[in-house]
Assembly symmetry: C2
Homo-oligomer: 193 residues x 2
DNA sequence: TTCTTTCTTGACTGATCGTTCCAGAATGTG
DNA sequence: CACATTCTGGAACGATCAGTCAAGAAAGAA
């Protein structure tokens, strides 16, 4: 009869995600992971496969969290564009509340690994596409409710908003002040006016 | 009498910069550098110090190139805002012409190392500040010539433009198409309208 | 030609890398 | 209690890491 695991794979995966998110892929060693996840290296390999498979699982875990976050913030009553403004300002607040300035795992990975790893590039593109699609669906409603001008294209705006927030993440990691970041976001949101 | 070096330190530095720019800091080994720079490891250490000092020298080299590029594109005649538009579109063109999608060394470094390395964070902030300042000087002229509305703040717009381009870099590395990137940039430039 | 200084070549060091493997422990059924 | 199966702990493997060092080569002045 098999001995049950002494660790919870899901909890361990969450811890691995935190570490990869903060340090990146290359700078995170198996030793780092084993210590942070509080499991032994044999269990890590048996449960997750290898370092890259673990990383991919972490990206999935992160994207699941993002998807839930989008659902809870975009499906809200009131003026549609305000929904987007609140969502984006909320995202900025969350980033500003993070003293380690680890940014977004997807953006981090886009920069570090996407140009070199096809499977990772596809995962990143899929994640960004999901975020863009969420904006798009909301902007379509905004268009229908007359909140957008004729020349304001939902798809273009959705892509733009996704991109702008990536830029905010880069500036945040570079050390830009909270005040400056808020100003940048407000300036960028002017595209919706 | 000393034997002269068989390699040109400036040429070697340029090659190191290319490699760090493409692969990042952690993923680039001394072996990679030695091979790519076409010098031997003793010369690398004797000339540049160590890996991190070499990296910092590469950042300086990159920033010098950026500064020259800004000068040559921002000081131009004609409507001032068009100068910025051309500069940004030119930057996008340069990025799109790069099959390796290596992005911008400053943005890459902001994401990979800035949160963890104080000196690197300062260098990154300085570089981004220089770019922002260039936009700012041009936007002040635009304001004076009546090309900006009263509510359009040069400093806010300068920060915003710097940020938006970081976002474009992330999306480019993530695999976004040229068409989509052009649309994003045009949408983002609408803030200047 | 000799001598001094510096360069190149590449071996070497100690540490760490990702991954595999083994001994002993723990689990639960028969 | 015995047994089969799985888990934990952590050593070990082969490779690579950043950085150091020694032998021999090259340069040019005396």
């Amino acid at each position: 009869m098999a001995r049950p695991k002494e660790f919870d794979p899901n909890t361990a995966l969450g811890k691995a995600m935190e570490l990869f998110w903060r340090k990146g892929y290359e700078a995170t060693s198996i030793e780092d992971l084993v210590t942070h996840m509080d499991i032994n290296r044999g269990s890590l390999y048996e449960t997750f496969g290898d370092k890259q498979k673990l990383f991919l699982a972490c990206m999935d875990r992160y994207c699941n969290g993002m998807a839930a976050s989008r659902l809870s913030m975009l499906d809200q009553p009131g003026p549609v564009l305000d929904t987007i403004r609140r969502f984006i300002r909320g995202k900025l607040q969350m980033a500003l509340a993070d003293p380690t300035r680890k940014g977004c795992l997807i953006a981090n990975t886009a920069m570090e690994l996407a140009p070199h790893e096809k499977e990772i590039r596809e995962r990143v593109a899929s994640a960004l596409g999901g975020l863009e699609e969420a904006y798009y669906q909301v902007l379509i409603r905004a268009k229908k409710q007359g909140e957008l001008r004729k020349d304001q294209e939902p798809r273009a705006l959705a892509r733009y908003l996704t991109t702008m927030m990536q830029g905010v993440i880069v500036m945040h990691k570079a050390g830009t002040t909270a005040e400056a970041l808020r100003e940048i976001v407000e300036t960028g949101l002017a595209v919706l006016d």
